[in-house]
Symmetry: C2
Subunit: 100 residues, 2 copies
């Protein structure tokens, strides 16, 4: 693996009562995303200080790997069509990271 | 803020029965670390797929900011002397990240 990668940190705040459903859908999205050739890792966490916030740390080989993720059938079917409508807030940051 | 920063992702696996104590100590370490001039953010999460794993995402202005964190009194007192003995496994990765 190269010493640099494309990293996305996404934050999802589910609507009231939707946390468990969002976590179940994220498990599906995670399994599918990990099969993408451009995906290095994809993990999702609960913020201990704010348990309603889910934090997803996504690493791709490069920007093209992330672009391919956004174009994947499972991203549209699970991320866009099923998860997004259950969120009251979301944000993300993207960076190119070089291992030191 | 500059468009690049120094990022550490640390993983802690507490010894059996020590998870809650480690989380309490991390709350203390987090509050102290956020007062460091070189700290941009410091957050700790539970891994949904592996709830025994705590993941800490730390962002500093630069490598010197991270070095200052490691030299801080609270890092030694809480991180080294109190948290480390309660862990059965730990790892970390470091990267210079450039926002895109």
């Amino acid at each position: 693996m190269s010493d640099s990668f494309f990293q996305v940190i996404a934050r999802h705040q589910p609507k009231e009562g939707q946390l468990e459903t969002v976590l179940e859908l994220l498990a599906e999205l995670t399994a599918a995303t990990r099969t993408e050739p451009g995906c290095l890792s994809f993990e999702y966490f609960r913020n201990v200080e704010n348990p309603d916030e889910i934090v997803i740390v996504e690493c791709f080989v490069d920007a093209a790997g992330f672009a391919a993720h956004r174009e994947a059938e499972h991203f549209t079917r699970i991320g866009v069509e099923q998860i997004a409508p259950l969120l009251q807030a979301r944000s993300s940051s993207k960076a190119v990271a070089t291992v030191v």
